[in-house]
Amino acid sequence: MKLLYVVTKAAAVILGIIAIYHLFVVSVAAASPYILISLLLMVGGETLNPNRGFGLVVKEIARRKAGFVLACLAVALATAGVVFTQTLSSAFEEALRRITKDMGRNIAVVPAGADATALSAGESGTLLMDEALVAKIAATDVPAEHYLGKIQLRLGPEEGGPAILTGITGDVGAVGRGKGLKKAPMGFEVAPGQCVLGAAVAARLGEGVKPGSKLVLKGREFTVAGVPGKPGAKPRAAAAPIGPIDDLRIFVNIRDAQELLGAPGKIHAIDALGCVCPIGGTFDYLTEIEKKIEKFLPGVKATTYRSIARARLVARQGAERTGQLTVGALAVLAMLVIFFYLYSDVRERREELGMFLAVGFSPGRLAGMFLAKVAVIALVGAALGFAAGSVGAVEIDAAKLGLVGIKPEVNWLSAAWAALGALVISALAAVLPVLAATRTDPADVLRKN
């Protein structure tokens, strides 16, 4: 008990220091949870003192077990719901991320006068621009990333087709908006002399084509490296259709494509992934991105594909908002249960509280006793809820619920958040009942007898 008291006090002091740091350096919003928890621990710590009657709190809990268990279950239910939802929605978001990544980039930049629609339909590029523009635009603050320089040639049967020969640079500026946030490349790179086959091409070429097989494209020999995203895989077996145009592509290194075209240092287009950040629910932000790109790269035309952007936005926001609504509803439910439990507790114990005040307990001591009880409810509830929510989410048969391709995993960080959230919610729910307890008028309640 002594050790618990010392640890609680130390934790309260450390959290207090963090709160002061946040108050001075970051913001009040960031400091507020630390302040709340620190205060809770300080007051609770007072009653944890072996000489200050934590045993009294424990005995009181033991006497009114039903109410205590109900309050713990409310916190556990809310925590389990939050952890369950967050674990599933994290997995859901990850699956969505993979799916929307497969949907490709949503911005095409072509030389002014070029037909971006024809290019996106798989036609050969006509007008050229400098490959250096890819690095140039990637270095700006345009809210887009995963830039990809591209050369595109339609190959006829006599040139190794039918296929769309696509020379690519690989991801440029695959760091989150220039803020140093590393991001995994969206696409893949092709080594010089090699080629990567789209699904339709792999299907047409048949079982005989393996990694290492030779293909002659436009009179030049290339070595088959695999299919998109699966280097070294046998093309016919591994190729999965992505979309009609990309399935028809044969990807090669940009240098090889430039040589075949006789246009060193040139490209037909830059593809990019623009930030989907709607303002007031509209997609005008994408227009802003187009304008910015055209400002930084005079002589080009930027086009955004809003259907892809919209799909990404709706999918991401849908998952996020559903999670937020569930969390909010469960938090309110838990707060209500704790509030009513504590309030009825205070009402039932008015005479007891009056007696405590009459024998010399201060209102602060009474508040400390209630807060210690609330802390116990919150921590027990959070622990039970985290265990139930995590196990439930991980053990659930997602496929049977129609959630195909989702693999939920236990998130230990959410345990800390669950405990913190449960403490904050319980503390907030306890404010009015604790105030009522401290405002008990002993003369009034003791006189009535």
Binding site: R52, L56, N449
Partner: protein, 221 residues
């Protein structure tokens, strides 16, 4: 010594009317005295007792106990002072049902921030003195009314208070049990304990060394 000067307490009733529970009380009770506040129901006995104990804030006038100006103290200071200097005994005992007899007595020490073995030992000694040596671990529900009131008295005496305040301490007890409690109070008074007891029962009041009569909030004798 308890010194009460011009003590007035006015309550506002639910109807909005003002009720003058105490009206300009002037009173002194000496250290070691056993004083009984008597009078009919509604005469202001309990209000006066609670004002001495700092549970009621006077509308006018003041209360001083052992030189401490009770009415001028802040709420936390008054709580501390009550824990150190006062013991309360109530008609309905107000024992905590989930605590044993010893633990109930220890509450008074806990109010001072003292607990552990020393507090328990001292609580056991008081309970033994009041004839409850066999009842340390019993909860209130397992004790008779007379025993419960003795536990309540032990709790009031636990911090060796300067003043013991008792509000109708025999009101819920039958004749023999009431007699036991009165004998214990008399015994404590013989040990030097200042006692102020509120009762409407003249026979109980007769056990005190001084009778103070109230009627409609005023001292009448």
């Amino acid at each position: 010594m308890i010194a009460i000067q011009g003590l007035t307490k006015v309550f506002r009733a639910a109807s909005g009317d003002q009720v003058r529970a105490l009206d300009g009380i002037e009173l002194q009770i000496k250290t070691g005295e056993f004083a009984a506040l008597t009078g009919p129901s509604g005469s202001g006995k309990t209000t006066l007792l609670f004002a001495i104990g700092g549970l009621v804030t006077p509308t006018a006038g003041g209360v001083s106990v052992g030189g401490a100006e009770v009415s001028a103290m802040s709420a936390p200071a008054r709580a501390r002072w009550r824990a150190q200097s006062l013991g309360f005994v109530f008609q309905t005992f107000y024992l905590v049902p989930y605590l044993s007899a010893v633990e109930n007595v220890c509450l008074a020490r806990l109010a001072l921030g003292e607990g552990g073995a020393a507090a328990r030992k001292s609580a056991e000694a008081i309970l033994a003195r009041l004839g409850l040596a066999e009842r340390f671990g019993h909860r209130p529900g397992e004790l008779s009314a007379g025993e419960q009131q003795r536990v309540s008295l032990a709790r009031a005496l636990a911090n060796a208070p300067a003043v013991l305040l008792a509000d109708e301490p025999t009101g819920n007890l039958d004749g023999p049990r009431a007699e036991e409690i009165l004998a214990l109070l008399a015994e404590e008074n013989r040990r030097g304990q200042t006692i102020v007891l509120a009762t409407h029962n003249e026979a109980v009041a007769a056990r005190a060394s001084r009778r103070i009569r109230l009627d409609r909030g005023k001292l009448v004798g």
